[in-house]
Symmetry: C2
Subunit: 138 residues, 2 copies
Amino acid sequence: MKIISRRKFLNNSSKASLAGTAIFAVNNSVTKQMKNIFIHHVYFWLKDSSSQTDMDKLVAGLTKLSKVKTIQQFHIGKPANTKRDVIDSSYAVSWMLIFDSEADQASYQTDPVHLTFIEDCSQLWSKVIVYDAVDAEK
Amino acid sequence: MKIISRRKFLNNSSKASLAGTAIFAVNNSVTKQMKNIFIHHVYFWLKDSSSQTDMDKLVAGLTKLSKVKTIQQFHIGKPANTKRDVIDSSYAVSWMLIFDSEADQASYQTDPVHLTFIEDCSQLWSKVIVYDAVDAEK
């Protein structure tokens, strides 16, 4: 074991803190481009598109579903007010999940929390479209 | 000025490091749910879906487009290998953008970098679907 003086230990310790801060800042900038992720984006159309109650039930269900451990980040959305020919704003709820890998997404599909969600909420929707995406360039 | 012993300073210093780690971990957990964002998710279908060259051109165009300053985070994707009835994997490129607000997304639409992208790349695609989403609950 190498013996270092207390002063040296203190110096090293404060350098380590600075280095940690710097790494964090660099990561923040780098992460503008999301990489090495699996995006699972689901759009739900409700059977009764006018029902705020059904929308609330679905959002509550998704909030519970978000507890699945392999989910790295998620967003529960609704259509924005934007209108253009290419925009599909006919859906009721957007459910965007970020996983670390395809394997994590696969395990989410069979997670008991997911199966409970389907049991509790599937009667609410008439249509679902899923887009799964991985990095275009590896 | 309160004088503390070196040992106490060391103890405090290591507690500070631990506290820093804990805060970081808590933040990580909080940011699992993305909130107060505007998701602009675009799916492109190529005129020539078999052309790797056209796909590469589009990805290169989007990489340039990602320089628009109001973009907070972005992902350039392609279909994952998942296959289920509800999954649409017929698109060529997924372009997912996160903005801070609807206003930022609106300014992106008319940003000169965006207009150049459309001029350079719009001949590549046959179809585009856009889903814009804001938080379901504010």
